[in-house]
């Protein structure tokens, strides 16, 4: 799939993060699955989404909080893993390196959101000036203008990130295949980091009991399965 299409689909899904709807389709589990399906490997897409999801689940987009753009990171990471895993020979290496790359992109995404919100002050002024002149058109158009700006900026970010990622990840074949086993530990850590972040959402006394029930259930079902 062409980088332009990935940018378009990614930025469309990114709108759901905070700008419009907020139906949850921008969550990495959904985003990575959609991209996996479009790129011809739904199962791998779901697997990537599974590892990424918890890293950004704890982010709460309240007020002016600047949160890492997990959605954009998921798009870039999924795309790179699907392209460069080389029939799973380099799955662990590509996955870990793509997540690290994705985390860096999520930082950039967060910073871009700050700039975008500053830009929106211009739209606010435009709307206020319109109302002063007894005109409603600016108020009617401002949301769509803002959406278009966000979409464009995210498109550029995803397009550049995937293009630069292509250049970097082409070098993956230079990594000895045996090293992929070391990276497996990093991959396990990614899930662990996510779990550790989300655990802090469940810190009431009752939650510990519920976590323990879930833990036992998980262990038992694993043994049965």
């Amino acid at each position: 799939m062409d980088n332009i299409w990935i940018g378009l689909i990614g930025s469309l899904l990114a709108l759901d993060t905070t700008i419009v709807f907020q139906f949850l389709v921008s969550q990495p589990l959904v985003t990575a699955s959609v991209l996996g399906w479009l790129m011809g490997d739904l199962q791998l897409g779901i697997q990537v989404g599974f590892y990424l999801q918890l890293l950004w689940l704890r982010n709460i987009p309240v007020g002016g909080a600047i949160v890492p753009e997990g959605n954009v990171a998921a798009i870039v990471t999924t795309c790179l893993v699907l392209r460069y895993h080389s029939d799973m020979v380099y799955f662990n290496s590509v996955m870990v390196l793509a997540v690290i790359y994705g985390v860096a992109i999520s930082y950039l995404g967060g910073e871009i959101v700050v700039m975008y919100r500053k830009f929106n002050v211009n739209l606010l002024n435009w709307v206020l000036n319109g109302l002063k002149r007894v005109k409603l058109l600016p108020l009617n158009l401002a949301p769509f203008g803002s959406i278009l700006v966000y979409f464009t900026v995210m498109f550029i970010l995803i397009y550049i990130s995937v293009t630069v990622g292509d250049v970097l990840f082409k070098q993956i074949s230079n990594i000895p295949v045996a090293w992929d086993d070391y990276f497996r530990f990093g991959l396990v850590a990614i899930l662990g980091i996510g779990v550790g972040l989300v655990v802090s959402l469940y810190k009431q006394k009752d939650d510990r009991f519920l976590l323990a029930i879930g833990f036992l259930l998980g262990g038992i079902i694993f043994l049965i399965k």
């Binding site: 070391y182 530990f185 779990v195 989300v198 323990a212 259930l217 038992i220």
Partner: protein
């Protein structure tokens, strides 16, 4: 008779559909104000025939405002009602809006971002661990999205009607205890699901290599402690991943 009053369906639908765009012009000066005024355009059209009056109404909505995007619908409904009654105190609308910011933000953030969202996502993750059939898994994901979006859409639509019905009295309904039973359901589901992911993954990794299971446990602990101690998500993530890879290099070469 106050509580019998309902917003006309088409006007309510107009506000509801526009409410999906409430955060689209979020900015650092007035936060949600542009989106809020944009949502109220159908109300302005209903209440006032001439453009000057409509604009004056919308100008009043352009002051600083913030709320949880779904729960803002309560404010949209309530402001519509208050404006319809044409209060004699010109500052009432602004004071009322300011008074709603706290409850609308706190309840919505706790309920949706802190409970329903993690609950649904964690439930979806169990599906990845247990369901091998891809079509079934996709069906399960869709079910989880429905589990999230039913309360989401209900709050958006009911909020407008309830806000309009109650007007200035809406604050009486905006108490977190009212939503406790919903919070409880999703919190239980979320906590059990998270425990499940841990309980399932540890033996799964242990079967491949016991050190992997240990690294998984250590990274959970490290991430939890690091996050409480220092909040840098980026640095903590990088440190733990690097440490895990180093453990891999050391143990695989012994």
């Amino acid at each position: 008779m106050r509580n019998q009053k309902k917003l006309p369906i088409l006007t309510g639908l107009g506000v509801f559909l526009r409410s999906f765009f409430i955060q689209s012009v979020w900015n650092y000066r007035s936060l949600l104000s542009v989106g809020f005024a944009y949502c109220l355009i159908p109300i302005a059209s209903r209440l006032y025939r001439n453009q000057e009056e409509r604009v004056a109404f919308l100008k009043r909505q352009m002051s600083f405002f913030n709320a949880h995007p779904y729960f803002a619908s309560y404010a949209l409904g309530a402001i519509s009602r208050v404006e319809e009654e044409k209060p004699s105190d010109p500052d009432l609308v602004e004071r009322f809006k300011n008074a709603l910011i706290g409850p609308l933000g706190a309840i919505g953030d706790q309920l949706f971002w802190g409970t329903i969202k993690p609950g649904c996502i964690l439930l979806a993750m169990i599906g990845v661990l247990l369901i091998d059939h891809l079509h079934l898994l996709i069906g399960y994901f869709i079910l989880m999205l429905i589990c999230y979006n039913v309360p989401h859409l209900l709050i958006r639509s009911i909020g407008i009607q309830v806000g309009y019905r109650e007007g200035l009295e809406v604050y009486k309904l905006l108490k977190s205890e009212r939503f406790n039973k919903y919070r409880l359901i999703y919190r239980v589901l979320g906590a059990i699901s998270l425990g499940f992911v841990i309980g399932f993954s540890i033996p799964q990794y242990g079967q491949i290599n016991p050190v992997l299971a240990a690294v998984f446990g250590l990274s959970i602990f490290g991430s939890y402690v690091f996050h409480r101690w220092k909040h840098s998500f980026y640095r903590n993530t990088l440190i733990i991943i690097t440490a895990a890879i180093l453990i891999g290099v050391i143990t695989e070469n012994i």
